[in-house]
């Protein structure tokens, strides 16, 4: 199972964190520091796996972003690489040639997409099309709500409350 997902930029900035195992806040900061230290220090032509605290971190670099997932020793490393790639492709499909800035400004959306992909540290949805459809459905829900909230009548109603 996947214990956590981290997105770290080449400069060591954290772009996304998602924890599937229980890590207290302090521990999280420590883990992020350790992992980014380990992963960012590695050269380009090395393998994508790092042993860490009896677990394994599988990472993959896309442009300036490192996608890291932490798994158990006996999990399949190549499968996790596939999951990472799957996630990136889904992001790409959603944002249209995704770049780091997309993820910075749409932090929450990257989060929602990840939630559709993984649940309790397991892959939930392996079809990019389905994920896209689900996210679009949720976006539509949000949009209608937003329109409602922003309508003038709504604002007046609030103001006169």
């Amino acid at each position: 199972m996947i214990h956590f997902v981290l997105l770290i930029s080449r400069q060591g900035k954290v772009r996304l964190t998602k924890w599937y195992s229980a890590y207290p806040q302090k521990e999280r900061t420590k883990v992020i520091r350790e992992i980014s230290g380990e992963v960012l220090a590695r050269g380009p032509k090395l393998c994508n796996f790092v042993e860490w605290r009896g677990l394994k971190v599988v990472y993959r670099r896309y442009a300036s972003l490192y996608f890291c997932m932490c798994i158990n020793q006996d999990d399949n490393e190549l499968e996790v690489l596939e999951i990472i790639h799957h996630y990136v492709e889904t992001l790409d499909r959603y944002f249209g040639s995704v770049c780091e800035l997309d993820l910075i400004f749409n932090f929450h959306k990257a989060y929602y997409i990840l939630d559709e992909l993984l649940l309790a540290g397991e892959l939930q949805e392996s079809s990019k099309k389905t994920v896209a459809r689900l996210i679009a459905g949720q976006d539509a829900l949000v949009e209608t709500a937003k329109e409602e909230a922003n309508s003038i009548s709504n604002i007046i109603a609030q103001a006169s409350k």
């Binding site: 996304l16 964190t17 032509k45 393998c47 006996d74 892959l123 392996s126 709500a145």
Partner: protein, 954 residues
């Protein structure tokens, strides 16, 4: 109020504003964050849910990326969760799943909200609740929401169903009794036509089976069907993982799945699936020769790939095969050894493990030699990896692999001198361990210890301190094997020893003490033998001599062979002896001067030690102070009591015998053999009557409350060299003292330099000796490294090829082992009680328990546990309860089970018609059968639980 609310709503900064602001901030990140936090704290209190949710979203962002605490906003998250608008609800859920944990107080409030959303017609809302539950589910939540999950497990919306399947993992883990309710539906999903549901279900079973495989054996037919039919790699990988766990438990199953797995291995183009097949075979099916052969062929393909990932995985797979099929490693040894110089540290590490796996009795000398040379050229980290693996491999099972201990001991010495060596602790313990266990290795051990001690360069390296401490101990304990004890004593009192931490100096001092005793004792026994020849004193000491004779003989036996065997080594000793000759003493003494124990040399030694130790008697470290005083006291006594000896050794006064006795006594005490102690030794000591060990010591705390405990390091007499940390303040004081001391003993120092000039650094002229450790060897360039590897390949190839055992000149020395398992006592791994509950519940379901009864009562679990006790009257029930016990202990009643499975095979069909109407899965067939048998037996209370392995295999 309303005014401020609308202002907030209209002018609230959104998450995007926050992120933009963060990127443009000029005032520094932490200031910006604290300002934003202030804003959030204000906004989050707003009565308008929209404003609140935006504030919460910003907080979630800051928490996720900037580790800002958000536990204080838990209640606000709950508020947002209960919003009717999806956008706000979603923000609330995300915040909750990110920040809630078991101890969040508001968790009690969300049960109803979750229930409402789980049953919502809007699938997205249900999915939010499921995601949240998967993350934060507690025992209470899992218990209360089990019915809802049960409903969702057969939802017609695939989207919701697959998520609810994923959630069952968490629910089962927290609340095992949920198994009784949900398990059947979960199993039904194994036959689902929807690939996502199937994938999720298999994922759940994969996790469950990893914890307790045996309970899921009855589901093997379903998994087998998936293994054969499915073409979805995600699913196949998970199923393979399940079989990797199940196969070792049931040989028939292993036999059955081997062929399909090999088929997948041959057929698939996906490396991930192929690797999973390989791993399953090498881990769990390693008895099937053909499958292993195929897997090894595939591993070879991986090893030859350029992709470092595949190479790494190939090596990793090899290291799994290695214990059972060493041939696979030997076949690929070239690749393995070449990988030792790979640029990737992980690959190097894997190949090092494999190289060590290839080590055998015949090849160890060669491999270690080459590896140690290789370590010299590696980067510090890898160097220590190499040293560490050599040490652990050689020490395995009481040095089982080491034939020649003289070689090994000198290898330990060599490793200590490796510039990057940081394995001080391991080398220390092995030096002492070998000393205690292997008598034959002691002379060499003392020689190695001497060469380590005498080298002043080593003293400055803090990583070697522990090794030096071991060397000091060895040289003191086994001084009788030393060629030249005086040299050892001088090495131990050399001025640079003040660089060592106090605990290690204490070991040094104790060793000096032992050496002194030994020297004086040897000298006295000589003079005494001499005296034996003089008839007039014979009478006075005849009683002593008769007692002493055997001891003396032993002493000389131990001492002489070394000296006689290596006459060339006597040169340095003869220097001392010659001084004696120069004095024109009687010719008789010449024969004894061979051993170096002359009046002159002893007096010299005593003076030397006294001068060096004297300043330490004012040391601030208790341990040093005490030992220094001991030594000084001894010297004092010797000088006072033996003036006669120092003036004229021919005169043997009556009082001298007192000293003789004293020295003899101490020497005997020190020469008593120290042996290894069994780990369980303590347990075998009977507890004396009247000693209550389990008494609560809490009240003692009150009494001793104000008494400050001394730091353990300064008082641990038994093993002062364990776990010490140098105290900078005290060591400064000490080194000041020592510098005084060295001023005092300038002449001594000069003499020492004259003798060991070689070991002094050239900077000695200005009086200060640099503490720097000589710089490590520079790393060689890549080409030479490559060449080295080539050499290495050749060398190891040779050493591996020569399979025949080399003829050792001498047999392997005896290694002392304690009769009764000295190894660490194996504590049976206690399973987590929750796991036990879980697997118990699963077994109940799968092995045909009375589902109705159990699902109806939540207390079912306890009830079942109680049953065996209730039904003792009945012999039959007794047997059943016995059955249960054994099954819960996972007994191996294979034949029994098999037979039952076979005989009932025919019945199955009929019963299927009778009972199997409502349920489809095979587990329910068994359930039905079990039920009918129960009826026949007429015992409704106790259910025989012998796990029945289905006979699909035969």
């Amino acid at each position: 109020m309303a005014g401020s609310s609308i202002m907030e709503t209209l002018f609230q900064r959104t998450l995007e504003d926050l992120i933009k602001g963060m990127r443009l901030q000029l005032i520094g990140e932490s200031v910006f964050i604290s300002k934003a936090l202030e804003e959030i704290r204000r906004e989050i209190k707003s009565t308008d849910l929209h404003t609140k949710s935006i504030a919460l979203q910003k907080l979630t962002y800051l928490n996720s990326l900037h580790a800002v605490d958000m536990s204080w906003a838990a209640f606000h998250a709950v508020e947002c969760m209960s919003s009717s608008r999806f956008a706000e609800k979603r923000i609330g859920y995300v915040a909750a799943s990110q920040s809630f944990n078991e101890s969040t107080p508001v968790l009690l409030l969300i049960t109803n909200q979750l229930r409402k959303d789980l049953t919502s017609v809007n699938e997205y809302e249900a999915s939010l609740a499921l995601e949240c539950l998967a993350k934060i589910g507690t025992v209470d939540l899992a218990r209360d929401l089990t019915p809802e999950i049960f409903t969702l497990l057969s939802s017609s919306k695939v989207f919701v169903r697959k998520k609810s399947i994923g959630v069952t993992m968490r629910v089962f883990e927290k609340y095992p009794d949920a198994v009784r309710v949900c398990f059947k539906r979960l199993v039904e999903n194994l036959e689902s036509s929807d690939p996502q549901s199937l994938s999720a279900t298999v994922g759940v079973f994969c996790e469950l089976a990893a914890k307790d495989p045996r309970s899921y054996l009855p589901l093997a037919p379903e998994f087998y069907r998936i293994l054969v039919d499915s073409r979805n790699n995600w699913v196949l990988i998970k199923v393979l993982k399940i079989f990797a766990k199940l196969a070792p438990l049931e040989p028939r199953l292993a036999k059955k799945v081997t062929e399909p797995i090999c088929e997948h291995m041959r057929r698939t183009g996906a490396k991930s699936l192929m690797f999973e097949c390989v791993r399953t075979v090498v881990e769990s099916l390693s008895v099937y020769e053909s499958a292993v052969k195929l897997a090894v062929a595939k591993i070879r393909e991986l090893l030859l790939e350029d992709d470092p990932n595949l190479k790494y995985l190939g090596l990793h797979a090899l290291s799994i095969v290695a214990p059972k099929h060493l041939w696979a490693v030997l076949e690929n040894k070239e690749v393995v050894i070449k990988s030792l110089s790979d640029e990737d540290a992980n690959i190097k590490l894997e190949s090092l493990r494999l190289v060590m796996a290839m080590v055998s009795e015949s090849s160890i000398v060669e491999i270690c030699r080459v590896l140690v040379n290789y370590a010299l050229k590696s980067d510090p980290e890898f160097c220590n990896e190499i040293l560490g693996s050599i040490l652990s491999t050689c020490a395995r099972n009481f040095y089982e692999i080491v034939m020649d201990f003289e070689w090994y001991v000198s290898l330990l010495g060599e490793m200590s001198r490796t510039p990057h060596c940081q394995k001080g602790e391991e080398i220390e313990s092995q030096l002492i361990d070998v000393g205690m266990r292997v008598r034959d290795a002691r002379p060499e051990l003392v020689r190695v210890a001497r060469s380590l001690l005498i080298d002043p360069a080593l003293l400055g390296n803090p990583f070697l301190n522990r090794i030096l401490s071991a060397a000091a101990w060895v040289s003191g304990e086994y001084v009788e094997y030393s060629l030249n004890p005086f040299e050892l004593a001088e090495a131990l009192i050399q001025p640079r020893a003040s660089l060592l931490p106090a605990s290690i100096r204490a070991v040094y001092l104790q060793s000096i003490f032992k050496i002194l005793i030994f020297c004086v004792n040897s000298y006295l026994s000589q003079t005494e033998t001499l005296a034996d020849w003089e008839p007039k004193v014979l009478d006075s000491i005849s009683d002593l001599a008769s007692v002493r004779a055997p001891i003396e003989g032993e002493c000389e036996e131990a001492f002489n062979p070394r000296v006689l065997g290596q006459p060339s080594a006597d040169n340095s000793i003869e220097d001392i002896g010659n001084v004696d000759d120069g004095d024109g003493q009687t010719s008789k003494f010449v024969s004894f001067s061979k051993n170096g124990f002359t009046r002159e040399s002893i007096a010299n030694l005593l003076n030397l030690v006294e001068v060096a130790i004297r300043p330490l008697s004012r040391s601030l470290e208790v341990e040093i102070l005490e030992r220094a005083c001991n030594i000084l006291g001894l010297i004092e006594v010797l000088k006072r009591e033996m003036p006669a000896v120092f003036q004229n050794e021919k005169v043997l006064e009556k009082e001298e015998l007192e000293v003789l006795k004293l020295i003899k006594l101490m020497n005997d005490a020190f020469s008593e053999e120290l042996g290894p102690v069994s780990v369980s030794a303590q347990e075998r000591v009977p507890i004396p009557d009247g000693l209550v060990l389990k008494d609560n010591l809490a009240d003692l705390d009150e009494i001793m409350g104000d008494v400050k405990l001394p730091s353990a390091s300064s008082f641990s007499l038994e093993s002062p060299y364990y776990g010490h940390r140098m105290d900078p303040a005290s060591s400064n004081v000490q080194s000041n003292e020592d510098s005084e001391a060295s001023n005092e003993s300038m002449s001594l120092l000069a003499e020492h330099r004259k003798r060991h000039g070689l070991y002094y650094l050239p900077s000695e002229g200005n009086g200060t000796i640099s503490n720097d450790y000589p710089p490590a060897n520079d790393l060689k360039s890549v080409d030479t490294n490559q060449d080295d590897t080539e050499d290495f390949v050749k060398l190891t190839a040779q050493s591996l090829v020569s399979k025949k055992k080399p003829n050792y000149a001498k047999p392997r020395p005896v290694v002392v082992k304690l009769d009764e398992g000295e190894s660490v006592p194996v504590v049976p791994k206690k399973q987590d009680s929750r796991d036990d509950l879980l697997s118990g519940a699963v077994r109940d379901i799968l092995l045909g328990d009375d589902a109705e009864k159990l699902s109806s009562s939540i207390k079912g679990k306890e009830k079942v546990n109680m049953d065996p006790l209730d039904s003792k009257e009945n012999m039959h029930d007794m047997e059943n309860s016995h059955h249960r016990k054994t099954t819960s202990r996972r007994s191996k009643q294979q034949p029994h089970r098999k037979e039952r499975g076979r005989t009932s095979l025919e019945k199955l069909g009929k019963e299927k018609e009778e009972h199997g109407g409502k349920v489809k899965s095979k587990s329910s067939h068994r359930h039905g059968r079990q039920k009918s048998r129960q009826k026949a037996e007429g015992s409704s209370d106790v259910i025989a639980q012998t796990p029945v392995i289905p006979d699909f295999l035969l």
